[in-house]
């Protein structure tokens, strides 16, 4: 007791305490950090052994472009840190695996090996590599829980400059495009916002909160399911198709009517 009290005053004591504290902190961190990451992946994707299955799938179907360890090649970017949400979006919408390189990967029917389980396994593997945005829960993307009016305002402020006012899609530069949103599931819409696939910017949770994202999903899903009260929707792209209809249907019908009316000639008397 006395010895410790005396040692407390020793000139080197402060350094010893500092070393001890640093050692403890470092020690705890090395023990804790991998555990928490593994826990993250397991929470995000269900089961921890999904990672091993996912790695196998990855090596078979993805590694030729993204590299054996998802480090990326000249044909495809690295997938470290893109997160489970990106995998779910790209694979479930059929964009990945890519059929052929081009300006942009189009939405297409999914590959034969793709199903809910394989997507979960693949997502778990990618998530285990470096974290990233995780797949949203069903509640987060439920259109019934969102506010359409607020979502509409956010949608108009953030999305329509590329995706058009009803999400009919639009052109971007050099062959890139903003795809139509008609086929995207609520989950895919959410994932696209948090991962920013292809030409799309990322709308993270500090820019648009998860609740606001759900409002936007409610608006997008609501509008695309809404019937057209005025008749045929004409693709809902605005005046271009209206002009085509005015000329091809309107003027053509009226020209035919004019020809019909004047075809009946008055019999001359002579």
């Amino acid at each position: 007791m006395n010895r410790i009290t005396a040692g407390r005053r020793h000139p080197l004591a402060r350094y010893a305490v500092l070393l001890l504290a640093l050692g403890l902190l470092g020690g705890f961190y090395t023990l804790a950090a991998p555990t928490s990451e593994r826990a993250d992946a397991a929470i995000a994707s269900g089961r921890a052994d999904d990672v091993a299955e996912g790695k196998k799938l990855f090596e078979q179907s993805c590694s030729s472009c993204h590299g054996l360890n998802a480090e990326g090649t000249k044909n495809g970017p690295t997938l470290v840190g893109v997160g489970a949400a990106a995998v779910d979006f790209q694979v479930s919408s059929g964009r990945m695996p890519l059929a052929n390189p081009g300006a942009q990967a189009p939405r297409k029917p999914t590959a034969p090996w793709v199903n809910e389980d394989t997507i979960r396994q693949l997502s778990a593997y990618i998530q285990s590599l470096g974290g990233g945005p995780t797949v949203p829960t069903d509640e987060q993307v439920d259109p019934a829980k969102g506010d359409k009016s607020k979502g509409g305002e956010l949608f108009r402020a953030n999305c329509i400059q590329c995706h058009n006012f009803v999400g009919a899609g639009g052109a971007l530069t050099q062959g890139k495009y903003a795809p139509p949103l008609n086929e995207a599931t609520p989950k895919q819409i959410y994932e696209a916002m948090i991962t920013g696939p292809q030409a799309m910017p990322v709308f993270n949770d500090s820019i648009i909160t998860p609740d606001q994202k759900r409002d936007m999903i409610a608006y997008i899903v609501g509008v695309r399911e809404e019937p057209n009260p005025g008749g045929a929707g004409l693709g809902r792209i605005g005046p271009v198709t209206e002009g085509i209809v005015a000329w091809i249907v309107g003027i053509s019908l009226l020209v035919l009517a004019a020809i019909w009316i004047t075809a009946k000639k008055r019999q001359a008397h002579q």
């Binding site: 006012f165 509008v223 271009v240 004047t262």
Partner: protein
């Protein structure tokens, strides 16, 4: 007609009116007015009847529309916009669409009628142009027509800005951009129009006055003048049997033409009602309310403004900075130059043609387009110029539907805008000459009869018979395009008076190229009863026109 058969109340009343107004004579004279018959002569009526429908549906819309930019919170029946702050104009447009009985149908018919109004004017103007029906004495009526078209564009622009939806706001923003880019007066004009900084509080109510009062008033007056002039000058007729510059061959206004015109009004009304019922137009509820910060992909104006949109999209980003002032050529040129070329070109063409051909005579028989090949080619190349701009106004939709690069549509458009009209001119000119040759062959050799004859030496020929009298008369209505007489230099090499100097020489040169007979109808092909003989030598002969 004896008055004995007319019941007394009618005879008495009409007699009273007749004595005071002279109505009987007026009607007798005008109801028998003869109108020539050709389907293309009805095209202008599309615009006329659309205008009537516009007035009717438009009046209905004014009962419910509130031209105010005051902010309100929407609480109508369209759920996705409930509790959204918007202008009163937009809220009342939504109200018309969803809560007024028949409101959406009226809105849609109004909009479709507007598209057909302008489209009808365009096809009518093209008919008048290609048949030369603008020639003396109808130049003034042509000018009224050009004015009507210009006013219709202004009427359309002010009209589609009124609902104050996001799409119309984009158009308004471009209008502001054009106004503010004008040198010297730009800022003043913009502040005057919008009553302050864009978008201000005034523009909707100002556009409303223009749209429902001033412009339709002028349109109505000009349309009346257009019709009265047409009535007084009589309608042109296509060339044919017994048709000359001194007569009009056709049916009297009452009953024949009146029935036809009435039927055509019903057709126009029917087509507009059909479109208004089955094809959704301008779904403002999908666009959302206008805020200057928002813009949608695929924002386009209505079709008649498409050429201006295209010009804007094609233009490289040039600007001139001089003494601290900026001249944005990238806005000024596309806003003013194509419109200037097309409208000024239309207005001046009759006078330019007169200057070139030196033709001061009256024309009441229309030209067939092939018979004035340079005019037709100029028309088609103007259509090509307009068409390329129009198409490029939708280049984002083209790019997104056909999966081509947006950038390339712009690059190709920049080339096409110069190359397209040139190619169109050459191709059209050759087609016109080809059609003239075909006419000459029909006159010279008759038409194929379908009868194959075997000659004694074994050769097979198809017998040609003379064309039907009415067809031949139609073709023989061709007259050579006039040209200035005596443009040639005299024996000392001195050109005649008025043909000297660079302008005079140019005029003489143009007159020679524009005027004259390119392919004479009776170009040594023989005529009359020589058909059989020609048919016999035809297949082996050196006559190229037989192989048209």
């Amino acid at each position: 007609m004896s008055t004995g058969t007319v019941p007394k109340p009618i005879a008495g009343a009409s007699g009273f009116l007749d004595d005071r107004l002279g109505a009987g004579n007026f009607l007798k004279r005008n109801l028998r007015k003869v109108f020539p018959d050709h389907w293309s002569f009805l095209l202008g009526e599309i615009a006329l009847y659309s205008f009537i429908i516009l007035l009717l549906t438009g009046t209905f819309l004014t009962f419910f529309f509130k031209p105010s930019m005051a902010h309100v919170v929407y609480d109508g029946s369209y759920e996705p916009l409930r509790d959204v702050t918007m202008s009163e104009a937009y809220a009342s447009s939504l109200h018309i669409s969803f809560d007024v009985r028949g409101g959406l149908l009226m809105r849609q018919m109004h909009h479709w009628a507007a598209l057909l109004f302008v489209a009808g004017m365009m096809v009518h103007a093209l008919r008048v142009f290609f048949t030369g029906a603008y020639r003396k004495p109808r130049e003034l009526n042509w000018l009224i027509g050009v004015l009507l078209l210009t006013l219709a564009l202004a009427e359309g622009l002010t009209g589609y800005s009124l609902p104050d939806d996001l799409l119309s706001g984009a158009g308004l923003r471009i209008t502001e951009g054009v106004a503010i880019s004008l040198p010297l007066v730009g800022t003043w004009i913009t502040f005057f129009l919008f009553g302050g900084e864009y978008p201000g509080e005034d523009v909707i109510s100002r556009f409303y006055s223009l749209h429902i009062l001033l412009i339709p008033g002028i349109l109505l007056a000009l349309i009346s003048a257009h019709m009265v002039l047409m009535w007084v000058q009589k309608h042109t007729q296509m060339p044919g049997k017994g048709r000359t510059n001194e007569n009009v061959v056709g049916a009297p206004f009452y009953p024949a033409f009146m029935a036809k015109a009435g039927a055509y009004f019903m057709f126009t009304f029917g087509v507009i009602a059909l479109l208004g019922t089955f094809a959704q137009i301008n779904p403002i509820w999908l666009f959302g309310p206008y805020t200057p910060a928002d813009i949608s992909a695929g924002s386009q104006p209505d079709f008649y403004m498409g050429f201006l949109e295209g010009a804007l999209r094609l233009m490289p980003s040039w600007e001139i900075n001089f003494l601290g002032f900026t001249l944005p050529m990238s806005v000024l040129i596309p806003a003013l130059v194509p419109m200037g070329i097309i409208m000024t070109g239309l207005a001046l063409y009759p006078f330019l043609e007169q200057w070139v051909t030196g033709d001061r005579s009256e024309h009441h028989v229309a030209d067939r387009p092939r018979n004035n090949p340079h005019r037709t080619s100029i028309g088609i190349s103007a259509i090509t110029f307009y068409g390329v701009l129009w198409l490029l106004g939708a280049n984002d939709e083209i790019s997104s539907v056909f999966h081509v690069s947006l950038n390339w549509t712009t690059y190709i458009g920049r080339g096409l805008i110069f190359l397209g009209p040139l190619v169109a001119y050459i191709v059209t000119y050759r087609i016109c000459l080809g059609l003239q040759r075909s006419d000459a062959a029909v006159i010279g050799h008759g038409v194929e009869s379908g009868v194959i004859k075997r000659l004694p030496h074994g050769e097979y020929i198809e017998v040609h018979v003379p064309a039907e009298a009415s067809i031949e008369a139609h073709m023989r209505g061709k007259t050579a395009v006039p040209m200035i007489a005596g443009t040639d230099t005299d024996k000392d090499g001195i050109p005649p008076k008025g043909m000297r100097g660079p302008l005079g020489r140019l005029r003489a040169k143009m007159s020679k190229a524009y005027g004259g007979e390119k392919i004479p109808l009776d170009d040594g092909h023989g005529h009359g009863d020589e058909h059989d003989e020609h048919a016999q030598v035809g297949p082996g002969g050196d006559d190229r026109s037989l192989t048209h």
